[in-house]
C-alpha cells in the first residue's frame, strides 16, 4: 500500500502539472523573488497563454505553433496593460490590480456572451493535435516503469520539464548578469537604484513581461497536457499555490521554484492518496466522500507549510542570513 502511495505521489511530482506550477513559480520568482513586484494574479498570465493558444486553434483554425505565439503575445500585452499604470506607484497597487485582473479575465472567458470564442463554462478542446502529431513517443502506457506514463503524457511531460530546464538556465544567466543586479537593487530599494541612474520603471516592466510570459508558457503546457481548457481551471488559488511553491523551494533562488513544485505535488498527491485510502477504510470517523479527501489533504499541506515557515522560513534552498536582513 505504501508503495502505491509513493508511486501516486511520484507520478504527480514528475508530471505535467508539477512542470506547469514550476513554470508559474519561475515567473513569480522573477517578479517577487528578484524584483520585489507583488503579483497576485499570476493565474491571469496563465489564462491568457492558455486561451491564446486554444482560441487560435479551436476557433480560428490556426496551427498550435501560431497559438503558442498568440498566447505569449497576449501575456506581453497583459503585462503592459497592468504595468503601465501601476509600476510607477507603490508595490501594493500592482498587487491589487493583478489579483483583480486574474478574476476579471476568468469571468470574461466564462461569460455566456464570450461563448463563440471561449466556449464559456464548457471551455475549448481539440487544439493539441499538431502538438501530439510530432511526438516521438508511441505505444501504450509503459513509459517510466512503474509510473506507467502514456505516450502522450510522456511527450508533454518531456516538453514541460524541458522548458523548465531551459528557462531556469535563462534565469540563472540573467540573474548573475548586471541586469539581474539592477533587478535585485530595485527589490532592495528602488530610490537607491534611481539615484544611481537606473531607469527603474523600465526594469520593472521588463521583469513583469518576462515573468508573465513564463506564466503563460505554464498555462500552455497545462492545457496541452489536459487537451481541454475551462475557465474554472484558473481560480485565484492557483496563484497562491505558485507562491507556496516558490516560498517552499526558496524565494530568489534559481532552482527553488523547480524543487518546490516537485515537493509540493509529491506531498499533496501523496496525502490525497493516503487520506483517500484511510477514508475508504473508514479509519477517519465523520469524514466521507471525495470532497472531504481534497479538504483534509489541503489542511495537511497547510499545516506543513506553517511548520516550514516556523522552522525554515527561507525555504529549502534559501539563505537564512539573507532573510534576517529583510527588515527595512
Amino acid at each position: 500500500m505504501i508503495e502505491t502511495l509513493f508511486f501516486d505521489a511520484l507520478r504527480s511530482a514528475v508530471g505535467p502539472t508539477a512542470a506547469t506550477y514550476a513554470l508559474l513559480a519561475i515567473g513569480l520568482n522573477i517578479h517577487f523573488g528578484y524584483t520585489g513586484l507583488l503579483n497576485f494574479g499570476q493565474v491571469g498570465f496563465m489564462l491568457v497563454g492558455a486561451y491564446g493558444l486554444a482560441i487560435t486553434v479551436s476557433v480560428f483554425g490556426g496551427s498550435v505553433w501560431l497559438g503558442v505565439v498568440v498566447g505569449i503575445l497576449a501575456a506581453v500585452a497583459l503585462s503592459l496593460v497592468l504595468g503601465l499604470p501601476t509600476l510607477r506607484l507603490r508595490a501594493d497597487y500592482l498587487a491589487i490590480t493583478t489579483i483583480a485582473a486574474g478574476e476579471i479575465l476568468r469571468f470574461l472567458v466564462r461569460n455566456t456572451s464570450s461563448d463563440p470564442f471561449t466556449g464559456s463554462v464548457f471551455g475549448l478542446r481539440q487544439f493539441a493535435g499538431d502538438f501530439y502529431a510530432i511526438s516521438p513517443f508511441s505505444g501504450g502506457s509503459d513509459y517510466l516503469g512503474p509510473l506507467r506514463f502514456s505516450a502522450n503524457r510522456m511527450w508533454v511531460t518531456s516538453v514541460g520539464w524541458g522548458l523548465v530546464l531551459v528557462l531556469s538556465l535563462g534565469v540563472w544567466a540573467l540573474m548573475r548578469s548586471p541586469w539581474g543586479r539592477v533587478l535585485r537593487s530595485i527589490r532592495e530599494d528602488e530610490d537607491a537604484a534611481r539615484s544611481l541612474g537606473k531607469n527603474v520603471f523600465l526594469y520593472k516592466m521588463q521583469s513583469l513581461v518576462l515573468g508573465g510570459v513564463i506564466g503563460a508558457i505554464g498555462g500552455i503546457v497545462f492545457i496541452l497536457a489536459l487537451q481541454n481548457v475551462t475557465p474554472d481551471m484558473f481560480l485565484p488559488q492557483v496563484t497562491f499555490f505558485a507562491f507556496a511553491i516558490m516560498i517552499l523551494g526558496g524565494t530568489g533562488t534559481v532552482l527553488g521554484p523547480v524543487l518546490g513544485s516537485i515537493l509540493f505535488w509529491f506531498l499533496l498527491t501523496g496525502l490525497q492518496s493516503g487520506v483517500r485510502t484511510l477514508v475508504d477504510s473508514g479509519a477517519i470517523p465523520g469524514v466521507a466522500g471525495g470532497q472531504a479527501v481534497g479538504a483534509v489533504s489541503l489542511i495537511a499541506v497547510g499545516l506543513m507549510l506553517m511548520l516550514l515557515m516556523i522552522f525554515r522560513p527561507q525555504g529549502i534552498l534559501g539563505d537564512r542570513e539573507e532573510l534576517r536582513l529583510d527588515v527595512k
Partner: protein, 302 residues
C-alpha cells in the same frame, strides 16, 4: 574637531573663485555648476521651497544649512528629480534638467545620497558599488544573456569598485551583505557608491548624521578629497556647525524655503539673520553649543 569655531573658520581662506563675490542671497558666481531660478514647491498650504535665484560654485564645497523644516531635503529632492516643483527651472552644467526623471539626472552627473541611508541590504558591499557604474552593457536585457558582451567591462568595474572600497576602508567587508554594516559604514558605502557614477556634482544629505566622532573625521576627509583630489563639486546638508565651518568654501542658509544668507563660513557665522533664524537668539552660537554639550553630558551621566 576644533571646539573654537573661529579657528575652524580661519582654517580655509576664501578660494580664488569666490574672492570678490558679494555675501548676499542669490549672488552670481563666476563659474556655477548649478543655477536655480524661481523654484517653488508647496505641500498643501506650506511653501517648502521658494528659491528666487541660487548658484552653486563649481569644484568647491557648498554647505547648505537651515533649521528643521527649512526645505533643505525638499530642495535636494527637487534638484535630483525625486520630486516635481510647482514652478521653476534650473540648469546643471549648462543643461536644463528641470523636467528630467531622477535616473537621467544621475546619469548626467548629479548624484545624491540620502539622509536615511539606503544600503541595498541583501546585496554584498561589492555589488552595491558595482551597481553604481553607468553605461553598463550587461544591464541591457538581451546583452545580459551573452556574458562575453559584458564580461570585460564587468572586470573593469570590479577593479574600480575595489579601489574605492580600499579608499573608504570597507575592503574587509567586500563580500558581506550590506545589511550587516554599521550606520557609519553605511554612510561610507553610500558615498563610495555615489562615486561609482563618476558625478560632477555630489549632493550629500546629512552625511555625518548618526556617525560617531572618530568616523566623522574620516568622512570629512573623504568629502574634502572629492574637492581637492578629484575636482568634484559638493553640496551637503549638515546640522553640525563645526563640520560646516571646517570644510565648506561657501555656505547657503535656508529658512522657511527661502535663501536668507550666503557667504563664506566666516561671514555666515557673523550674519545676524542666520543667527536669528538658525543659531538661536543667544547671538553666540559657540556658547549655545557649549550649553548643548553640557546638557548632553549631563544626560549621559544620568
Amino acid at each position: 574637531m576644533s571646539s573654537d569655531p573661529n579657528v575652524a573658520m580661519s582654517s580655509r581662506p576664501v578660494p580664488a573663485g569666490l574672492v570678490g563675490v558679494a555675501h548676499e542671497p542669490g549672488v552670481g558666481k563666476p563659474d556655477p555648476v548649478l543655477v536655480v531660478d524661481g523654484l517653488r514647491r508647496s505641500f498643501g498650504g506650506v511653501t517648502a521651497v521658494d528659491v528666487a535665484h541660487l548658484e552653486i560654485p563649481r569644484g568647491l564645497i557648498t554647505g547648505l544649512i537651515g533649521p528643521n523644516g527649512a526645505g533643505k531635503t525638499t530642495l535636494f529632492n527637487l534638484l535630483t528629480g525625486f520630486d516635481t516643483p510647482d514652478e521653476g527651472d534650473w540648469t546643471f552644467d549648462g543643461t536644463s534638467t528641470a523636467d528630467w526623471p531622477a535616473y537621467r539626472v544621475a546619469r548626467a552627473g548629479m548624484v545624491r545620497t540620502f539622509q536615511l541611508t539606503k544600503a541595498l541590504s541583501r546585496m554584498t558591499v561589492l555589488e552595491n558599488l558595482m551597481l553604481g557604474a553607468t553605461g553598463q552593457r550587461g544591464e541591457r536585457l538581451l546583452s545580459a544573456l551573452v556574458s562575453p558582451a559584458w564580461r570585460g567591462q564587468e572586470d573593469a568595474i570590479r577593479v574600480r569598485a575595489e579601489d574605492l572600497l580600499v579608499r573608504f576602508r570597507l575592503d574587509h567587508m567586500r563580500d558581506q551583505f550590506a545589511g550587516t554594516l554599521s550606520g557609519g559604514q553605511r554612510k561610507l558605502l553610500e558615498m563610495a557608491r555615489a562615486l561609482m557614477v563618476e558625478p560632477t556634482l555630489v549632493m550629500l544629505d546629512e552625511p555625518m548624521a548618526g556617525v560617531n566622532p572618530a568616523l566623522t573625521q574620516s568622512l570629512l576627509g573623504h568629502v574634502k578629497d572629492l574637492r581637492d583630489k578629484e575636482g568634484r563639486s559638493v553640496v551637503f546638508v549638515e546640522h553640525d556647525m563645526d563640520v560646516v565651518f571646517e570644510i565648506s568654501d561657501w555656505v547657503v542658509c535656508l529658512a522657511q524655503g527661502k535663501v536668507i544668507a550666503e557667504g563664506p563660513p566666516s561671514a555666515i557665522g557673523a550674519n545676524q539673520e542666520v543667527i536669528d533664524a538658525y543659531l538661536g537668539a543667544t547671538h553666540d552660537h559657540s556658547a549655545l553649543r557649549r550649553e548643548r554639550r553640557r546638557k548632553r553630558d549631563e544626560g549621559s551621566e544620568a
